[in-house]
Symmetry: C2
Subunit: 458 residues, 2 copies
């Protein structure tokens, strides 16, 4: 075997500019692709071995798709881009002074240019103790855990002899009515009403309660108000009980406490309890810890969600060699003659930032000035469940808004189109086709140590 | 909600005979199906929520198939058989005197007739401390763990700077050359030689060593000698280093110690070390612990592997109401005028026993005498890798034996044919078709807490 290159080669021995990219989500992936014809060495670092198509992660959590259908091995995606080296590992800190990324298990990566695309994770607003009772949905591991809890709750309800405990097992609560919360609640209602009935002998899954709690006054707050209203109607039609202006004050092993006004039998604001063994957190998002560490090291600013406030060209103030893209960046879109606008935390935003950051690095290498980032907003879509979605497109003569069946079809084809890899598209289309016709879900598998449960759902 | 039936209803309140089946592998599943038109209540107990098509489990472990492709939710399989109640739970003991199955998390199931189909697990021959260094392959959880270790070993080798440690990371050892060991080793060689090359920049996966250790003098000892020879040749052609008469004397975090003669540079028996971070155990099988407990409770006998020695009609001596089928049974096949022969531990054997046990219970309920079990042996097949398999069929005029490409095609179609569910067949065929054409594998996903590794492969 030939001698092995050091993980951290001293910069002086290198002939080509070294670009390090942290994270292989939408932003990191597009950034790496942006160097496909460039005379640079790219190192793509990720703590997993796969790129995850996050818009469909809720389908894995609800047993509609298998994990490999929405996850592609990163190094396979860059098989033919010879200047990309994929490394499995986690960035522990950034030493901006010496231009090095320190790795969690020791070692370091030297860079001439760094793109940080480390994304976001769920935030429990300081109540991290809630995490074990109400997992969030960001990784495949999260999706497996949520799938396990949903499927086990029905299994344990079938075995439960105490009616009150059985009721709690058949009560599913989703916290937060953003896109993830809405699609989780809608799909869980579909499972309870359409997939499982007929398979149990002692319970009727159709009697399960799916409760969607939202602290604000409407669902899908990033959407125009009329579409929030359409989404609310579609959720209720699917059998989801939506409670608006409901604030979660506590979560524990037995269920949760809610301060709210929307329960019909309570007048005024009151705190009440919901007994539930399957609670899903879709309420808060916080930027990756790397943002905080970067701020410590470079004196850059972060916003309230921990995102790094970047320059118009996506670089870090005072550190033109470092760019931040995707959910970790508090970025603005610049259009000549207009006020800059905030870039929304959606996948097209991350992709466009990744591409722009790579292009700016190439400009800098060519001695050209960098360009301010401009976000092209094609619109916004959210799915709710079978035949139910809302779409808000930026049409040429004004917004184009629609909901229901047509919006659902539009959502479906848009997502299949943007999935990476022909095989994955085929598998997803096939699984969805079969699920549509049969109401079945193809990935109802509980895996892990606690396969048999232990009387308690967790 | 209507009142909930008790888990353990007293026998006297029941109108129909209560049949309990423990385990939903091939034996348990066929047994439950055997009651499809019978006037009995069947309770099917399993510690997982899915029936696993074990002959293809190695494909999940080697990233060729996703888990849902070979696992079907049990209660979905019995959706239309209204007399079957599926329960998730683990049998902890059998109280033969009071006709009850005691459950691990409390509660009990009363039975009039009991079929135990709890199968087998891996055995480390008293060295259970080896389990963490050399996992076996029985459950989906096992398959995920092995997949994780294989994929992570290559990832860590790409990052490793010490040549000796890198060599150890690229050394894969399979212990035991039965059907599982042979197909694991063959497929791992395929991954190293065909799937991964081109994706790494610092190592060449094709240089990986795949070592198959066998304590006996030939591979696939349940096959005729000529087919063992064919299998050995095919393994070596695929790039597997087969070491026969090699006994493992120790396994630890650094690798394993082997006593053997087959290393070319050693004359006579010697103990030598192999440094490896990915070791797979395919050597020993032990019957489920329920066999041991049943022997304690009913004074029945178990054989050396812990299997229950059953009567010709598959019932337990002295307990006609209890039958044991599948890998947990030491059963014989009875043909008039011939010496009884042992039933091999293969899936057709388990299926046939399950069907026979159900039929005998129905005979007993009808007041008829039970029948001795007769195993119909259609032959034996084992796959090795791409274009490589061996087949030993019971032809009308004597055995029909072949190997190589044709045997591989035969194996492939036989397995797709016996897969449960149309959708699963389609998915498996599609994944195999794509893998065949592209040399790619569709499920190369590492999931779990240790996604990023920690410098050490475990």
């Amino acid at each position: 075997m030939s001698p092995v290159p050091q993980v951290s080669t001293p910069q002086s021995t290198r002939s080509r500019p070294q670009v390090v990219i942290i994270g292989s989500g939408f932003g990191g992936l597009e950034a790496a692709r942006g160097f496909s014809r460039a005379d640079v060495d790219v190192t793509l670092l990720d703590k997993t071995n796969h790129h995850l198509f996050q818009p469909l992660l809720y389908q894995v959590a609800t047993a509609g798709l298998s994990a490999p259908a929405i996850a592609a091995p990163i190094r396979n995606l860059f098989r033919k881009q010879a200047n990309v080296t994929t490394l499995l590992g986690e960035a522990d800190d950034i030493d901006a002074a010496s231009h090095r990324v320190l790795l969690k298990d020791g070692g370091a990566l030297s860079y001439d240019h760094l793109i940080i695309a480390a994304g976001a994770t769920h935030s429990y607003f300081g109540r991290d103790d809630w995490a074990r009772f109400a997992p969030g949905l960001k990784t495949l591991g999260d999706a497996f855990e949520i799938r396990r809890r949903i499927l086990l709750a029905f299994e344990l309800a079938e075995r439960e002899t105490d009616p009150q405990r059985q009721r709690a097992l058949l009560t599913f609560v989703v916290i937060g009515a953003g896109p993830t919360g809405v699609e989780m609640a809608g799909t869980m209602a579909e499972i309870a009403r359409h997939t499982l009935p007929g398979e149990f002998r002692r319970i009727d899954p159709a009697n399960a309660s799916i409760i969607l709690l939202e602290g604000g006054s409407r669902v899908l707050q990033s959407m125009p108000e009329e579409l929030s209203q359409r989404a609310l109607e579609q959720l209720e039609k699917l059998g989801v009980e939506v409670r608006l202006n409901a604030k979660v004050t506590d979560i524990n092993a037995l269920g949760l406490s809610v301060a709210g006004v929307s329960r019909p039998d309570i007048t005024g604001v009151a705190v009440y309890q919901i007994a539930s063994h399957c609670i899903i957190w879709a309420a808060g998002v916080a930027a990756s810890r790397l943002g905080f560490l970067l701020a410590l090291n470079t004196q850059c600013k972060t916003d309230r969600a921990g995102r790094v406030v970047v320059e118009p060209d996506l670089s870090v103030p005072g550190h033109p060699e470092i760019s931040v893209v995707g959910d970790l960046a508090a970025a603005k879109s610049y259009v000549a003659g207009k006020e800059p606008t905030a870039v929304p935390g959606v996948s097209p935003g991350a992709k466009q930032m990744g591409r722009a950051a790579a292009a700016n690095i190439l400009r800098r290498l060519a001695g050209e000035p960098t360009q301010a980032f401009r976000y092209r907003d094609w619109g916004n879509l959210a799915t709710i469940g079978r035949h139910a979605a809302v779409v808000d497109l930026a049409g040429p003569t004004g917004p184009l808004r629609f909901s229901g069946y047509l919006a659902w079809l539009f959502w479906l084809f848009a997502h299949v189109y943007f999935l990476i890899g022909f095989r994955n598209r085929l598998v997803v289309l096939m699984d969805w086709g079969a699920a549509y016709l049969s109401f079945q879900r193809s990935a109802r598998v509980v895996v892990g140590e606690e396969e048999a449960g232990s009387g308690e759902p967790r």
